[in-house]
């Protein structure tokens, strides 16, 4: 199958590669991901029980508490953070968490937004994904 190329807007630079984890519902790290394991704990999430660690995390929108950036940053501190985040709408928690990850821990977690909604049905769990947070290009090998 030909790779699927999604072009979004790069909000945080960096290159990353990993397996896809795809939430079709609004997502939050706050009370939603256990930083100590990277496991999704939000009872309302459709990827509850999956692990975001090292994966390219797709979700359409952020939701909930303004502390999500802090929860995200704690996953970075403990090494259980996603390799990259790809959203449809801008999620400020992802942007801020990623800026802090670079500032405090020197880690790149590229963030891309503005990918089409169809991405969330076309991209399958475990698809191999490469993200360029500079250009906003998301390449999905299927």
């Amino acid at each position: 199958m030909k790779p699927l190329i999604l072009s979004g807007r790069g909000l945080m630079e960096g290159n990353a590669e990993g397996e896809a984890i795809v939430s079709t519902k609004a997502f939050t790290f706050a009370h939603g991901v256990d930083p100590a394991t990277g496991k999704v704990t939000d009872v309302r999430s459709d990827v509850r029980g999956s692990n975001v660690g090292g994966k390219v995390l797709f979700y359409p929108f952020g939701k909930g508490s303004t502390t999500a950036s802090a929860w995200f940053l704690e996953t970075v501190r403990l090494g259980n953070h996603p390799a990259a985040i790809v959203t449809e709408g801008v999620d400020l928690s992802a942007v801020i968490g990623s800026v802090m990850a670079k500032l405090i821990y020197g880690k790149d977690v590229p963030v891309v937004s503005g990918v089409p909604r169809t991405a969330y049905t076309e991209v399958k769990p475990r698809d191999r994904v490469r993200v360029d947070g500079g250009t906003g290009e998301v390449r999905v090998e299927r």
Partner: protein, 380 residues
Amino acid sequence: MEVVTKVGDAVGADSLVPIKSAHVLAHYSSLHDAGVEVLERFADSGGKFAVPTSVDPASIDLQNWRSFGIPEDYARMQFRLCDAYARLGGMRCWTCVQYQVCNFPKQGDTVAWAESSAVVFANSVLGCKSNKITSGMDLACAILGQTPRFGMLVDENRKAEVSFKLSAKITSDLDYRSLGFFIGRNSGSRVPVLVGLPAGVSSDQVKHLGAGAAAAGPVTMIHLPGITPGSRTPEEASGEEKVEEMDVTRSDLEGVESDLDQTNETPDLVAFGVPHLSVNELGELAKMLEGRKLRAGVKMYAYTSSQAYDMALRSGILETIEVAGARVSHSTDAEISPLKRLGFNVVMTNSAKLAEIVSSEGEVRIRYSSQKKIIEEVTN
């Protein structure tokens, strides 16, 4: 500050604008060890807040934490946050109702506040302009004294786009919370206007209405005609545009109640005060508890600011509450307490915000009911 410029770029802000005040988060339960490192890094580098800055509640009662069973190691991390925050020059209020305690912007001021319920109050009641500022960016805005101009800072974006008409009669404190929650859930990203509130609605009731709305969705403002500056009528709120109208009926409020109420189990904790109770609300609680006694096996905590706590102490309110077997806890609240670690499994509350947020992890189960019904159930 890179945080502020990156966010500005991400949201397409056209400029940075000065702010009159900031409100930041510094509680350990959300910030974790990483957040301690962030605050200490900012404080160590000699950073100072450029504008009057208040802070949300801590994860522990800063005075009586030992008697609330908070483990030493947990308290130590919270105190590191407190120390770093103090070095940055913030007001040590530790409350989510800073607008009732120490942070008093005037109508028309631009502010950068974290704490979603306070942002709704700022935009809807005080007539200030604030976005809901995410953790990390809150500190950056406070230190910079500036914030990107987008969202609710742009007049065009503040117009009401959906109208809620309350047709149910308000019969309890719970109704304000459920009504707010209903509005939050059904507004999506639109700014709502609400008509039909009782004329005598209090600022505390509006506080809980806004908190419910912000917990259920991205709402940062509710136009309340007659209360919200610049919105004397629904037409003024929407800029004379025709908007979708939704009725809010008794069955809508009951729908929220049944969604948030998850269990019939006997609670091991009753929690009032998310967001913090005012001293007047503590007084009302004391009146309801007078002559009653809390049943064995259940704890009842009322959360408030240290300032309201002091007033309650001086006016005998605290004593009445304690005689009934309940306690008042200040500078913290249940939402950001280590509930599970303290051994609480079933929490009963009249806070839609607490119910929504705590239940999302699925570890603590929630019962959602009015203050009156709760007291009748758990006291003799």
